[in-house]
Symmetry: C2
Subunit: 164 residues, 2 copies
DNA sequence: GTGGTTGCAAATGATTTGCAGTCCC
DNA sequence: GGGACTGCAAATCATTTGCAACCAC
């Protein structure tokens, strides 16, 4: 979640002012809806939830607002092997990264301060000023790895012993 | 570049066999074209270059083949703030990651063995078997940072001293 | 006031897909 | 031979956009 609405609205309001943009009713509604989500979601989810709540916010407004929320640091794009862009709330300073299982699609979140430190170090060396980052490790989760190993074993004994 | 065609074709052929897929003429042509690219590119680039070369490979085949090349480890998706998916060749074991300037779009490649080691360590702890990973750091490159700093200074003195 | 915003629906544009004919193993 | 593969063009589908009415500041 985005923490209490107060701080999120404050942050967003600040960002909008900086950009000479307005904190309209629609933007407020979208922000509030997103504050209630703590899973990953995509644009259409927001549209549906607002509809379900009886709020009159058009699809276009949602699509126009999500990028602003990303820019303001309240949201970030989550890794999505799928087509529609996925977002996730940024919880205060609690940052995490992802491992994505390419077999079953499971998403594992992790956080490692050492990794953060190292990245900062690398940026410093490159004269680069980091604002946010994304670390995605793709591979097999424990279960899929085990399943895969089993399958491989089976294939081997089949190949060695008796032909089919 | 993908190194000499031999090893790339070997690797792709192996992958295809594993998946019970065929190493067709089209797939070979696409692989060869990609072996000649060393920049980032997207699907349409491959289509155009093949066309220009007089090869009859349909757009659909290119779109169907690129994911196979990614799966086989010969290509990987590059970070793209833009819509069309971008790819880049994987050069042997030479792995690198990216810093993306959100102002000017510049892409800075970097490689850090310590970062690799640390990620491996993190995966081990999580029981996750990594196959490949992606590190993208977004922020301001040196030039944009400087420009931004200058602008901020200007704004300040404007605010303090004399009105507009 | 007046410029940014919104809603709608039409436009876009990358990617996918159905299907008949073709090719690799 | 038979299942994979290909080409084509039509279909998808998330996202964007033009424009007139509207609202925050």
């Amino acid at each position: 979640m985005l923490g209490d609405d107060k701080s999120a609205e404050g942050r967003f309001g600040e960002y909008l002012k900086e950009q000479d943009l307005k904190f309209t009713q629609d933007r407020r509604l979208i922000l509030r809806e997103i504050s209630r989500m703590d899973e990953h979601f995509h644009a259409e989810d927001v549209v549906e939830r607002l509809r379900g709540r009886g709020a009159h916010v058009s699809r276009a407004s949602v699509y126009r607002t999500l990028p602003l929320l990303v820019e303001s640091g309240l949201l970030r794009e989550a890794p999505s092997p799928e087509k529609p862009s996925h977002y996730e709330p940024v919880v205060g300073s609690e940052h995490h990264d992802h491992m994505v299982c390419t077999e079953c699609g499971k998403l594992i979140e992790f956080h490692d301060p050492e990794l953060e430190r190292l990245e900062g170090e690398i940026c410093r060396r490159a004269g680069f000023r980091p604002r946010f980052h994304k670390v995605e490790i793709y591979g097999w989760c424990e279960e899929c790895e085990a399943r895969e190993a089993g399958r491989m074993e089976a294939r081997e004994s089949e190949g060695n012993g008796h032909g089919k």
